[in-house]
Amino acid sequence: MTWIGDNLGLIWEQLREHLYLAILPVILGLLISVPLGYVATRFSWLANPLIAFGGVLYSLPSIALFIVLPAILGTKVLSTVNIVVALTIYTVSLLIRNVIDGLRSVPAEVRQSAVAVGYGSLHRLVAIDLPIAVPVIFAGLRVVTVANISMVSVGAVIGIGGLGELFTLGFQKDFLTPVVVGVALSLLLALVADLILVGLQRVLTPWARVIHTPPVEVA
């Protein structure tokens, strides 16, 4: 326990790095997936190849990607950019399916009504299609966020891994406390991130709450 007190600074530092390395790729991935998914719904022949390609990318082991990327990007092997790019690739490869499915879940009559009252295609995407797609997109967003948080630790093998560095530290010193702290904080981070996403989804889809209210009893 004294170890925790003596190393609060280090733990805080790794926690912040962990959060940064896990969340930045989620944001970047979302910013890439939404336009890409939109294009794939406009040109529907693109959708299935994109989803299949995403499946192949997602099956690549993270440690392999962390190491191979520098050769492709020209970055240093021990650069955080590799982790961010690798996790962004995972995010896009998983999220693209949800974005496409989500945009496809917009009922045709809703779309036609929007066109009829004069929505342009960009305005319709932002004001009609994306809000309706939120539940499906968020389902994917929750999966990748939690997966990213656990995957960042693997970076510790190559020396950049947020809380993962507590694992290698504990292992090298044959000392359990940092490992337990690292695992516990990693799980906690995943839980909190998931709860925030659930909350955000509720805020973004106020109409969904109406459906869940219990039916009024008629006397």
């Binding site: 939690v146 656990s150 490992v179």
Partner: protein
């Protein structure tokens, strides 16, 4: 990297690439076998009796948050030994949740009317499980095992951190020596092995699925 790969000296011998691939496969299949042995009966039981579903669903979700590296280090320190046992524990802990969750999901997705029909024909509970529920759930069960395999094969890389062999050796040794071609070789081989195993399961998925499910 090609220099490393094209040198036949690097391929043979007890520390050659073939030996490393075999070690990597051994860790993978030992852990996969044990995970299946544990998770499949539990998943079948929960799916068949429909009791304990809460556990199956939440375990699957929570497991995605488990950091595999932390799990391995935890296993090393708790068993107080370095080597095969902690690696096996960590890999099995990764493999159980996807198999358990998808087995349950597969069984719970069986149409109750189908089960009623089976019962009406006089099938016993065991017959319903083996002749109706498992065949119908098979695609999902296989996709669970497939997911577990991917997780395990890529995580087996970190076995090298605790002095074991496998393809992770190239990554860990290469990092220590700043020998980046060696690291790339290891990473590339792990990725190829993962894709090869994934294809194997895709084929298995087609073969093992009952003809009755293929009718549209």
């Amino acid at each position: 990297m090609w220099e490393y790969l094209s040198d036949s000296y690097n391929w043979s011998g007890p520390e050659g690439i073939w030996a490393r691939i075999l070690q990597h496969l051994w860790y993978t299949f030992a852990a996969l076998g044990l995970s299946t042995l544990i998770a499949l009966p539990i998943g079948l039981r929960i799916g068949h009796t429909r009791r304990g579903a809460f556990l199956a669903i939440n375990l699957g979700n929570a497991a995605r948050a488990l950091p595999s590296l932390g799990l391995l280090m935890l296993a090393v320190l708790l068993t107080d030994q370095i080597g095969f046992l902690p690696v096996l524990i960590a890999l099995v802990a990764l493999g159980i949740p996807p198999i358990l969750a998808s087995t349950y999901a597969g069984l719970s997705g069986v149409d109750p009317a189908t089960i009623d029909a089976a019962r009406g024909m006089g099938m016993t509970g065991r017959e319903i499980l083996t002749k109706v529920e498992i065949p119908i759930a098979m695609p999902l069960i296989i996709s669970g095992v497939r997911g577990a395999t991917l997780q395990i094969v890529s995580t087996a890389t970190i076995a090298a951190l605790v002095s074991l062999g496998g393809l992770g050796r190239y990554v860990v040794d290469g990092l220590k020596l700043r020998d980046f071609p060696q690291m790339f070789t290891g990473a590339l081989l792990v990725a190829l092995l993962a894709i090869a195993l994934d294809l194997l399961f895709a084929v298995l998925g087609r073969v093992a699925v009952s003809d009755g499910l293929k009718v549209d």
